[in-house]
């Protein structure tokens, strides 16, 4: 199954709607709720990042019998130092993002904790791609 969603810069009202939709799909597929939670917690943090730190982008999810693979690809500005960004507590979040309850620099580390495979790639001025995979068993 292939799913695709668009997310838009600073569209805080809709932040999470892609994650919510994927959650419902996984529920319908009878995936273990604990695994669904890991998937959607990671995806939601990545979705919020694309909206809060980037100029929006595309979320694609591919689901087969054994796993879900999700790519959150945004349109920039990119992350200058991925190692720095992956460390808990590091954040460049705006006050607006903090008002939403994010911006403590816990997103990327928590994504790491919840997924089986994570690949973050970024080019400054071009964009960031966060690829996550979670096994169903």
């Amino acid at each position: 199954m292939h799913l695709e969603y668009q997310v838009y810069e600073a569209d805080f009202v809709n932040a999470g709607s892609a994650s919510s939709s994927i959650k419902k799909t996984l529920k319908q597929l009878n995936i273990n709720p604990a695994i669904i939670k890991r998937v959607v917690v990671a995806l939601y943090e990545a979705e919020v990042n694309a909206i809060a730190h980037a100029y929006g982008g595309t979320i694609t999810a591919d689901i087969d019998a054994n796993k879900i693979n999700i790519k959150v690809v945004d349109k920039g500005p990119g992350i200058p130092d991925i190692d720095w960004a992956m460390q808990e507590g590091n954040s460049t979040a705006s006050p607006e993002v903090r008002d939403m309850g994010f911006g403590a620099g816990m997103g990327l580390p928590n994504i790491q904790k919840n997924v089986d495979k994570l690949n973050v790639q970024s080019t400054v001025g071009v964009g960031t791609s966060v690829e996550m995979e979670v096994n169903f068993k």
């Binding site: 999470g16 709720p33 943090e45 939403m100 309850g101 994010f102 816990m106």
Partner: protein, 114 residues
């Protein structure tokens, strides 16, 4: 403790999920930071928060957290109530500070996650 007893102890107004008042719950977690709420792993405690916007509900949806207590006199918006209803959540509004609300529940035997 039942949700009804919790609401009574906190003098809270249940704005959504009244049909679930007899459910029993033992654990709670309090934070205004949604990234924090998303670190609870398999636990699904009652959430106390002073963050009152759509992301409060979204975050709890992602975390399978379906009992939300808004503290510090925060009032849920129409959109929040609508989304919470769709998700079958219990949402209540409490006029107490975070400290007071947590203290009351802790004293009454509600347990921390860690």
């Amino acid at each position: 403790m039942t949700i009804k007893e919790i609401a009574t102890l906190l003098d809270a107004k249940v704005v959504c999920g009244k049909e679930r008042l007899d459910e029993e719950h033992e654990n709670a977690f309090a934070s205004d930071l949604m990234s924090d709420v998303l670190t609870l792993g398999d636990h699904n405690p009652i959430i106390l928060t002073g963050l009152c916007n759509l992301q409060t509900i979204r975050t709890c949806e992602m975390g399978n957290l379906d009992i939300i207590i808004l503290v510090r006199k925060k009032k849920a918006t129409e959109e929040m109530i609508e989304m919470a209803e769709e998700e079958g959540m219990v949402l209540m509004e409490c006029n107490y500070s975070m400290f007071k609300a947590c203290g009351i529940l802790y004293q009454a035997g509600i347990q921390a996650i860690y």
